[in-house]
C-alpha cells in the first residue's frame, strides 16, 4: 500500500497545467498498490491555490500545503528541504510529479537526502514499484523495478493523460518546514514572450530545422503556426545556429512533445530530434532531401522545398477555412 504524494507547481494562484499528467501517474501508482494519493502545494502562501486545486480534487484524497517564505522564488535547495520535511511528516512512500525543469532539479535532491531511489521520466506504471522509462534517446524501454521503503518518480508529461477534475477534497496545512537555500540567489527568469501555447501543451507543433537557413525564414513557419493555433519548435541544428531561441528546441536535450499534429519542415531527423517528437499522433515531414531520416517516422512525407510548400500550405488551409 503506497502513500503517494504528488508535488504540484502553481503560478499566480493557479495550478500549472503541465502538472496534470504527473497526478495521473501518481494515481496509477496508488491504484496499483491499493494506496492513497495526496497532492502537495508549496510556496510562500499556497493557501489560495490549494483551495482551487482542492475544489477540483483530481481524484486525490486531499491537498496538503507547505508554507515558507524561502520557497519563492523556486530553488532546488529550499524545495528539496521542504519535500523531505513533507515526506517525514506525512509518511509518504512514493513521491513524484511531472518531469518539469522544476521537479527534475528538486526531486533528486530530496531523494538523495532520504537515501531513496528515483525513477526518472517514466512513461508507464507497470506495477506499484515497476516503471517503464525510455533510455538512449527513446530507442529502448527499460522496465525498472525499485525496491526501497521510499521511492521518487518523475513522469513524462506526454505519456500520461492530464488528470481530470473530480470530487472536491479538503486542504490541510502541514507544519512549516525549515528550509535552507544555502546562500543561492535567484535573480529571475527571462521568459520567452509568446502569445502562442506552450510547446509541451500545444495541439499542433510546427518545427523548423537546419534547412530553414536563417532566423528570418522562420516568419513563414510562424504564419503557419498561428494559422493552426499551434506552437513553434525547432531542431537543435536551428537553435544552435541561433535562428530561434534555445527554448524552442524539440529533442532528447530539448522539449519532449506529443501533439495531435507535428509538422517538421526542413528538419533532417537526427536521433536526438526524433526522441523529442515521435510520440506525436500525426507527423508530417516536408524536406527537399528524399533521403532525410525524418521521413522514416512521418505519416505523411512530402519531398519539396519549404520555400514552395509552406506558402502553398498556408494558402490552401486558409481556403478551406473560408470555404
Amino acid at each position: 500500500m503506497s502513500k503517494v504524494l504528488v508535488i504540484l507547481e502553481v503560478a499566480a494562484g493557479k495550478l500549472r497545467p503541465h502538472c496534470l499528467p504527473g497526478i495521473t501517474a501518481g494515481a496509477e501508482i496508488a491504484a496499483k498498490s491499493g494506496g492513497t494519493l495526496q497532492l502537495l502545494v508549496l510556496g510562500a502562501d499556497p493557501g489560495q491555490a490549494a483551495q482551487a486545486i482542492a475544489q477540483a480534487g483530481y481524484g486525490a484524497t486531499g491537498v496538503l500545503t507547505l508554507a515558507a517564505a524561502g520557497l519563492e522564488p523556486f530553488t532546488a535547495e529550499a524545495w528539496g528541504d521542504a519535500i523531505v520535511h513533507a515526506v517525514k511528516t506525512t509518511g509518504a512512500t512514493v513521491i513524484g510529479g511531472s518531469a518539469s525543469s522544476t521537479l527534475r532539479d528538486a526531486l533528486p535532491r530530496a531523494a538523495a537526502l532520504l537515501d531513496a531511489p528515483l525513477a526518472s521520466d517514466i512513461v508507464q506504471v507497470k506495477s506499484a514499484n515497476t516503471f517503464t522509462r525510455p533510455v538512449s534517446a527513446g530507442r529502448a524501454l527499460l522496465d525498472v523495478q525499485v525496491n526501497a521503503p521510499i521511492t521518487f518518480f518523475t513522469a513524462r508529461g506526454t505519456e500520461f493523460e492530464p488528470a481530470q477534475p473530480g470530487n472536491a477534497v479538503g486542504v490541510s496545512p502541514l507544519p512549516a518546514p525549515t528550509v535552507d537555500a544555502r546562500g543561492v540567489q535567484v535573480k529571475g527568469v527571462q521568459k520567452t514572450e509568446s502569445s502562442r501555447p506552450a510547446l509541451t501543451e500545444a495541439k499542433v507543433v510546427v518545427s523548423g530545422g537546419r534547412g530553414m537557413r536563417e532566423g528570418a525564414n522562420f516568419k513563414v513557419l510562424e504564419q503557419l503556426t498561428d494559422l493552426l493555433g499551434g506552437a513553434l519548435g525547432a531542431s537543435r541544428a536551428a537553435t544552435d545556429a541561433g535562428m530561434v531561441p534555445a527554448d524552442l528546441q524539440v529533442g532528447q536535450t530539448g522539449k519532449i512533445v506529443a501533439p495531435e499534429l507535428y509538422i517538421a519542415v526542413a528538419v533532417s531527423g537526427a536521433i536526438q530530434h526524433l526522441a523529442g517528437m515521435k510520440g506525436s499522433k500525426v507527423i508530417v515531414a516536408i524536406n527537399k532531401d528524399e533521403e532525410a531520416p525524418i521521413f522514416q517516422v512521418a505519416d505523411y512525407s512530402l519531398v519539396a522545398k519549404w520555400e514552395d510548400a509552406i506558402p502553398r500550405l498556408i494558402e490552401l488551409i486558409k481556403a478551406r477555412r473560408s470555404a
Partner: protein, 272 residues
C-alpha cells in the same frame, strides 16, 4: 580552486542498439565519452585557463567510475587539458544511482574540491539526477542545466544561466557548489572567468586534444580507488526487469503535392 569533473564512457549513441536475451547487448559496442561530459570538461578548462596568459586559476580533476582497465576516455580528457584523473574501479552499470552519487560525493570531500561540474545527463541512461544528488549529499548549492557560467573570483561565487521550461533563469551560487551543464555551455561566449578577456570568443564545442596534449596525457597522474576505500556500500535499489524496443510507428505514405497533403490531413487524419 579545485574543479572536479565527472566523466562516463557510454556505448556510441550513433550505433544501433542490439537487443539481447538479458537486456541490451553492448558486447560489440564502440565506447565513447558521454557528450555532456565533454561539455563539462570544456567548461572546467575555460574556467581554469587565462586565454592570452600562462596563469592557471584552477586545477581540473576528472573522475570516472569505470573498470580500471577501461580508462581510455579518462586519457582522452587528460589529453584535452585536464590536470589529473581519478578512477573508481567499478562497473557503473552494476551500481545504482544512489551508490554512484555517494562515490562522487566522497571523492569531492576527500579532495576538498570547490566545484563539481557535471553533464546534465548521460546519453545512455538519461537519468538526469546525479549532480543534484551529489549536491544534496554534500549540503551544497546547485545550478543545474547551465547554459552560461560567470565566475566571480573575489565573491567566490558563480552566476549561472539555467535552461528552464519557461526560459532562462539566472541563479547565483556561492562556492563550493555543483553545476550541471546543458548543450549551450559550449557556445563561444558561455563561460566567463573574470581573467580571460571578456571579448574572447572560443571556438564552438569542446576542444580537440592537441598533439602535445596527447603526449602529456600519458604522464599525467591517475589515481585508482575502490568503492570500499571511499567507505561507500554498494546498494541495489533498482533492477532492470525487462528491456524492449519501443513500438514502431506504422509506415507512412508519400504525398506528391501540397494539395494532396491538405486533403489527407483533413479527410484521413482529420487534424485540419
Amino acid at each position: 580552486m579545485k574543479i572536479l569533473v565527472t566523466v562516463k564512457r557510454i556505448p556510441d549513441p550513433d550505433e544501433s542498439l542490439k537487443f539481447g536475451a538479458a537486456g541490451l547487448d553492448y558486447s560489440a559496442s564502440k565506447w565513447v565519452p558521454n557528450a555532456f561530459d565533454e561539455y563539462a570538461v570544456e567548461t572546467a578548462l575555460r574556467l581554469a585557463e587565462v586565454v592570452g596568459g600562462t596563469q592557471r586559476l584552477a586545477e581540473v580533476v576528472v573522475l570516472s567510475i569505470c573498470p580500471e582497465n577501461q580508462r581510455q576516455h579518462v586519457t582522452q580528457f587528460l589529453a584535452m587539458g585536464a590536470d589529473r584523473g581519478i578512477i573508481v574501479d567499478a562497473d557503473p552499470d552494476k551500481l545504482d544511482t544512489i551508490a554512484v552519487s555517494k562515490l562522487i560525493a566522497a571523492v569531492f570531500k576527500k579532495e576538498a574540491c570547490d566545484l563539481l561540474v557535471s553533464g546534465k545527463l548521460t546519453q545512455d541512461n538519461e537519468g538526469n539526477q546525479v549532480p543534484q544528488r551529489v549536491a544534496a549529499l554534500l549540503g551544497l548549492p546547485q545550478a543545474c542545466f547551465a547554459a552560461a557560467v560567470e565566475w566571480d573570483q573575489t565573491g567566490r561565487a558563480l552566476t549561472v544561466s539555467r535552461e528552464v521550461d519557461d526560459g532562462v533563469e539566472t541563479k547565483r551560487i556561492p562556492l563550493p557548489g555543483v553545476v550541471s551543464v546543458d548543450l549551450r555551455i559550449v557556445l563561444p561566449r558561455s563561460v566567463r572567468n573574470g581573467s580571460t578577456p571578456a571579448t574572447h570568443a572560443y571556438n564552438e564545442g569542446p576542444r580537440l586534444a592537441s598533439l602535445k596534449g596527447i603526449t602529456m596525457a600519458k604522464r599525467k597522474h591517475v589515481a585508482v580507488l575502490k568503492p570500499a576505500d571511499l567507505g561507500v556500500a554498494v546498494g541495489a535499489t533498482e533492477h532492470t526487469v525487462a528491456v524492449t524496443a519501443p513500438p514502431k510507428r506504422k509506415a507512412g505514405q508519400k504525398v506528391k503535392t501540397v494539395e494532396e497533403l491538405v486533403e489527407k490531413l483533413a479527410k484521413e487524419a482529420k487534424v485540419l
